[in-house]
Amino acid sequence: MDEQSLKNVIEAALLAAGRPVGAAELRELFDEFARPELAEVERALEQLAADYQGRGIALKEVASGWRIEVRAEFSQAVSRLWQERPAKYSRALLETLALIAYRQPITRGEIEDVRGVAVNPNIIRTVIERGWVRVIGHREVPGRPELLATTREFLDYFGLKTLDDLPTLAQLKDVETLGVQLEFEPQAAGPEASDVQEAPGAEPPAAVAGD
């Protein structure tokens, strides 16, 4: 058996196995009349490892044999194959975010007053980490609670130029019909879309804000 065929069988077997395979077991894959020596198998493995230099994969010897791995430098990109669809944000988060947008600057206590329930600190942390909300000061009352306000990123994400593009409370009463109309709007040209004024409830651009 020539070297190339030997390497080919070994490569095919290591990739198909889905587990590490030892040199002796690799040798057993060949028909008796064509079975290579163990040393030949080992030499082929070395050559295969050399072939994989500068490639997306690498040949590595672990306790139970040889296996082909994704090179560490590519694992970040490859990991995206398993990126899960995210869970939806809770109702509580959306209400909190809306209150910060409409009533800013606002403290957590004031949000709680309107919502009638305690605001989970995780919610505030989530919207801050997302870049939509930030602390812009403290209210000078006992406890100096943080004052929360929306950010430029918040406006960008929702395709708004200014907070004035949000519907007024009066318009909000008809938000269902508002939304129906909006779904027929042509997709806004870009994040800075100038027609946002006409469409105060425009759907945000599909793209996820950079993280």
Binding site: S79, Y89, P142, L163, D164, A202, D211
Partner: protein, 287 residues
């Protein structure tokens, strides 16, 4: 297979019996006295996928074409196999008996003399059977073809490489503006805030400007009051800023400082007020 005396109950049909491969070779010419073990026969008969399959076998075995079935002969052979299945106590699906009835009906219709006048138009009584046999045979072939396709697990082995380190950065949920607005509408309705019509008239740009000014003052330094205004924003922008400053003052978030009469006005974030020594009191009282 050993040749022995045939059991009496199988005697009459024996020359019809097919049998399994022996040492990989299909046996086509059985000696007259060859004994077929009932198990082998059973396996053979059980292998039929129903009456159409059995009929096709009978037709093909004689190199006959589906389009020209000698219906009397095929019916006779079919019934013999049915009897054999019964004798071997095979589970006989009702479809086999239904087919037997159909064959008998075709046979009787073919025996009847056709009227000379409209004979040309009359359908061959076998037509429906032929259609079904052909249709079944197509899919029988198709099943074999599919079985011959190279398939995973048997013929095709996909390559896999180990991903030692998986970093899964979770994607963040998307939110539509509409979702947020609906949530807001609910919370406002719950809080009965629609009643306050001054809220309805409130310009959100004032709120936004309030946030911007506060952010500007976040460092704690004094800022020239005039620098809060931008001429290029026009009268509307100036008004918004002015209302925002007044609102910040009203909410106690901003101090205006004037060193002297007629000296420039300065603004800064409201200074911390003296708080009671016991900070515990500052926590909102829970009830």
């Amino acid at each position: 297979m050993n040749a022995t005396v045939p059991p009496a109950e199988l005697g009459p049909q024996q020359h019809e019996m097919p049998f399994a491969i022996v040492d990989g070779e299909p046996v086509t010419e059985p000696p007259k006295d060859l004994y077929i073990p009932p198990q082998a026969l059973k396996v053979f008969l059980e292998a039929f996928e129903g009456p159409l399959d059995l009929l096709l076998y009978l037709i093909r075995r004689q190199n006959l074409d589906v389009l020209d079935i000698p219906i009397a002969e095929i019916t006779r052979q079919y019934l013999e196999y049915i009897d054999l299945m019964r004798d071997l106590e095979l589970e006989l699906a009702g479809e086999y008996l239904l087919m037997a009835a159909m064959l008998a009906e075709i046979k009787s219709r073919m025996l009847l003399p056709r009227p000379a006048s409209d004979g040309a138009e009359e359908d061959d009584p076998r037509a429906e059977l032929v259609r079904r046999l052909q249709e079944y045979e197509r899919f029988k072939r198709a099943a074999e073809d599919i079985d011959h396709l190279p398939r995973l697990e048997r013929d095709v082995f996909p390559g896999k490489a180990e991903l030692v380190e998986r970093h899964v950065a979770p994607l963040l949920p998307d939110v539509t503006l509409k979702e947020m607005l609906l949530a807001f509408k609910d919370v406002i309705q719950r809080a009965a805030m629609f009643a306050h019509h001054h809220v309805q008239r409130e310009r959100l740009s004032v709120r936004q400007r309030m946030s911007e000014i506060l952010l500007h003052l976040h460092g704690g330094e004094l800022i020239d009051f005039a620098r809060l205004f931008r001429v290029e924003e026009g009268r509307m922008g100036v008004t918004v800023t002015f209302v925002a400053v007044l609102e910040l003052l009203r909410e106690g978030l901003l101090d205006i400082v004037q060193a002297d009469t007629f000296a420039p006005l300065h603004v800064r974030a409201a200074a911390p007020r003296p708080t009671p020594a016991a900070n515990d009191d500052a926590a909102p009282a829970a009830t």
